[in-house]
């Protein structure tokens, strides 16, 4: 069978001498109802009060944020909820240098990072601001930049971004999932590690 690139395509006369179309727009869009679970409702209500909730595993005390109501490693419900501070560190990060359509509000380059809150065992995605991208590093201590109080709602968007807190950074080996691994002695079979 011949390679596609070697195939000669025979065009009808009408389009032989015009500029060929080489790409088309095929946008996809889906609008859907989001009905949060009871643990997500508690978390969203807490956000409105500038509080961040975590769910505690009944098996080993691992703290999940945002709380989903379960410890997915063991398939058990989390029964205890804890307040977490709005401080933590960067577990890993990515510098984006290309604009994203629909997010013209993001100034290029920007940093997205897995934020590991103090006392949490998993990270979640956030934007990092207030620092030159070249200075962002794994283990960097950050704190939440909240929206003004009169703009707070029941949404994780209350946290605009994460800014450096100025505290000494964590060593690389203790940052992100490495920290969890070290604390728990977890091996590769533990999905958190």
């Amino acid at each position: 069978m011949s390679e596609p690139s070697q195939v000669e395509i025979e065009l009808p006369a009408e389009i032989r001498d015009v500029e060929p179309v080489q790409s088309i727009r095929t946008p996809i869009r889906m609008t859907y109802d989001y009905i949060p679970s009871s643990s997500a409702i508690a978390s969203l209500n807490a956000y409105a009060e500038k509080r961040i909730l975590g769910g505690v595993s009944p098996i080993d005390g691992a703290v999940f944020v945002p709380p989903r109501g379960v410890d997915p490693r063991h398939g058990v419900a989390t029964t205890e909820t804890v307040d977490l501070p709005d401080t933590g560190h960067i577990g890993s990060f990515c510098v984006t240098r290309l604009p994203i359509p629909g997010r013209e509000d993001l100034e290029i380059p920007y940093v997205s990072a897995w934020i590991f809150l103090d006392g949490a065992d998993v990270g979640f995605l956030g934007l990092v601001s207030g620092v030159d991208t070249s200075e962002v590093h794994i283990g960097m201590r950050v704190k939440a930049l909240w929206k003004p109080d009169d703009e707070l709602g029941r949404t994780a968007e209350n946290i605009v971004s994460w800014i450096p807190s100025g505290e000494p950074s964590l060593p690389f080996e203790e940052a992100g999932v490495r920290g969890y691994r070290k604390r728990s002695g977890a091996k590769g079979s533990d999905p958190l590690a």
Partner: protein, 149 residues
């Protein structure tokens, strides 16, 4: 635990652009130029829209041909009301249209006022937009042939 139920409209959206390659690209180029293009198989039959490979033998297909702008409605359904993301805002027919000179049907809208104006076997003709960019929506829809004569 707060028992109040919450809900929110969430939107998942991706403004995708895809490259077309020479065969699909030719179909799109044809639409921009106001013609409809198919591709000939080894047995002489014509597939519309054109495919890059034969659906039975998987051999590359290379001979693009122009087909007619009118044809016969093979089967249809009536869409009322159209969904929000539909290309058509008014109730319309959605039909498999067997174009003259083609051997496979093309799916497109039929722009008539009611389902009573639709029938299997009716002849329809493509209504091209004045402004075209190389997209299937360059054809606004198909209309009954007798209405344009």
């Amino acid at each position: 635990m707060n028992e109040e139920r919450l809900r929110a409209d969430l939107v998942l959206e991706y403004p995708f652009t895809r490259t077309t390659g020479p065969v699909i690209g030719a179909f799109m180029t044809g639409l921009r130029e106001g013609i409809i293009i198919g591709i000939r198989r080894a047995d002489g039959t014509v597939v519309v829209p054109p495919l890059e490979y034969d659906p039975t033998s998987a051999d590359p297909l290379t001979e693009l041909v122009t087909v007619g702008q009118a044809g016969v409605v093979e089967s249809w359904t009536w869409v009322d009301p159209p969904r929000e993301q539909s290309p058509w805002q008014q109730p319309h027919g959605l039909a498999l249209i067997h174009l003259d000179g083609a051997d496979t049907p093309l799916l497109h809208g039929v722009l008539v006022n009611s389902a009573d104006a639709m029938s299997t076997g009716m002849r329809v003709v493509a209504k091209f937009r004045a402004e075209r960019e190389g997209h299937i929506s360059d054809i606004e829809g198909f209309v009954p042939e007798e209405s344009v004569q």
